[in-house]
Amino acid sequence: MTAIDWLFSPFALPFMQRPLLVMLVLAVALGLASVMVTLRSLQFVGDGLVHAVFPGIVIGFAVGGREGLVPGGLVAAAIAAVAFTLLTRRALASDSAIAVVLTVMFGIGVIIVSRQSDYVGQLQELLFGRLLTVTDADVTLTVAVAAAATVAIAVVWRTQLFRAHDPLAARAAGHRVLATDLVLAVAVAVLIVAATAAVGNLLALGLLVVPGAAARLLTHRIGWMVAISIAMGALAGFGGLLIGFRASVDWGIPLAGGASVITMLVVIYGVVLAASMLHRHGPRTAHTTADARGASTAPAPVPEAAR
């Protein structure tokens, strides 16, 4: 078997094509979202959304089975996104507010799941996804949700970029900051639901946070950040599925698809982190600012100046 065969032959199988397509679609949408989450420092809000969406998914699952999972999650996502956006606007103690809400929501979800028969199997599926058994309907839904979220994020991109750099100036220029905050939060929450169906609730957070953070380490250009972030998600999706397949089929080690994707993502992040640390602390000297800030000139004290 050639190297090319080893890399690509698994994806000739239909049951491998669907998860690959899902992962590539999620890589694009979450890659873009991840850059803005990083720039806005919303990682913790993302964590809150991941956990808050969980009871919605569970209720949807309990009521309508697998078909109910995404609708239930979407409802919870919309509610949680709006709640978190409004909570974080009140600057005081926003982190504790999110922490309390996410813990309570996640707990509610676990309680509901524990009332079901086959508690362990269902909890595992909800937490870690079932990437390798996605259906055509799952693929269609993921593509639709990801496309809608990507368009929404693109629409609010400029305002969010301005606002991330200088929030007060963005408001002063008349940008509708709260409206775009809500759009971004709902788009991210909806993507989390889509990602949950594929890689599970816990691992969705990895896809939301890691690519943007890694891209941030590698470049100071926004355009490159987006490209790297998307490429990283795609590479993790491809590599993770490949390793999962080879491990299960060739090496006799059963690996869950979602878990191997996230492991791959973390490995890539580790390499990036090591590379950027070598780059910073290596033989080249650290970056210095163009010239010294804040050279002081001393205007006369107030009473003197008045005389």
Partner: protein, 276 residues
């Protein structure tokens, strides 16, 4: 051209000159009281006019309402009482023609944007859905040229010096051709060269008819480019022509017993009756 207000009544505090030509004031305040949400007023009873081409310095100790006034002009604090007109519109409606230059201190130096991207942000409102075109890039270039930063346009914003960043934010405000510029403590921590450059730019823009509101602790700055002064301490203490307002008596009324930060120096103004 220097504009002169005429239709506004020449109240005690207004920096009006001889009425000659009817020019609408760039800024007109009548008994303005501002507050945040449902809190008690942070600044009360401001009455003044600023004509096109004029500069107003807003001076007072920390927490005296300087920022409140500036945010009020931008429609970001609530008008509790009085009448406030910016370019003959409500503050919120005037935003398109108002440029705001905040302090650079609050900005993340690691944020991954270049100087020209930051300046382009000043055009986002006018861009709408469009991709930036040749005219937009020309406007960015012109604004950077005006503040003397053409060479650095591809530099990451956070790697510029404090003075260059301040001028970059000024370029961001200039790129949408504002008729009123609002500067928040523009000279904090600037070196002499950046101060001089900034002062020259302010003078040039004033000659083009742009009005300025500049909040500052720096009385030298007020002397250098401002025509009128608003002295605040929770309420308007005095407002009017610079030399009428900046009297020792007025300043001691406002600053007595306060710590005054002048650049990196802290000066404690002795109480009114103390031996200064």
């Amino acid at each position: 051209m220097r504009g002169v207000t005429s239709d506004a009544p020449a109240t005690a505090g207004s920096p009006t000159r001889e009425p000659a030509v009817a020019v609408r004031p760039a800024l007109s305040a009548r008994g303005v009281t501002l507050r945040y949400g449902s809190n008690p007023p942070a600044l009360s009873d401001v009455t003044l006019d600023v004509a096109p081409g004029e500069a107003l310095a807003v001076i007072g100790p920390n927490g005296a309402g300087k920022s409140t006034f500036i945010l009020g002009l931008l429609g970001l604090t609530q008008l509790a009482d009085g009448e406030l007109r910016v370019l003959d519109r409500t503050p919120a409606a005037a935003r398109v023609s108002v440029g705001y230059v905040p302090q650079t201190a609050g900005l993340d130096p690691e944020f991954p944007v270049t100087l020209d991207q930051v300046v382009m942000m000043g055009r986002y409102r006018t861009l709408g859905w469009r991709w930036p075109g040749r005219r937009d890039r020309a406007a960015v270039h012109a604004a950077l040229e005006r503040v003397g930063l053409s060479e650095q346009h591809r530099t990451r914003f956070g790697r510029l010096s404090g003075g260059q960043q301040q001028r970059g934010l000024l370029a961001r405000a200039l790129v949408s051709s504002p008729r009123l510029l609002v500067l928040d403590e523009p000279f904090n921590g600037l070196d002499q060269t950046s101060r001089d450059t900034l002062l020259d730019i302010v003078r040039e823009l004033k000659a083009d008819g742009v009005a300025f509101v500049i909040s500052t602790h720096d009385l030298d700055l007020a002397r250098a480019v401002c025509d009128s002064v608003l002295l605040v301490n929770g309420v308007q203490v005095a407002a009017g022509p610079r030399d009428d307002v900046l009297t020792l008596d007025n300043l001691e009324r406002v600053f007595a017993g306060h710590q005054v930060e002048v650049d990196e120096h802290t000066v404690v103004v002795p109480p009114h009756d103390g031996h200064a």
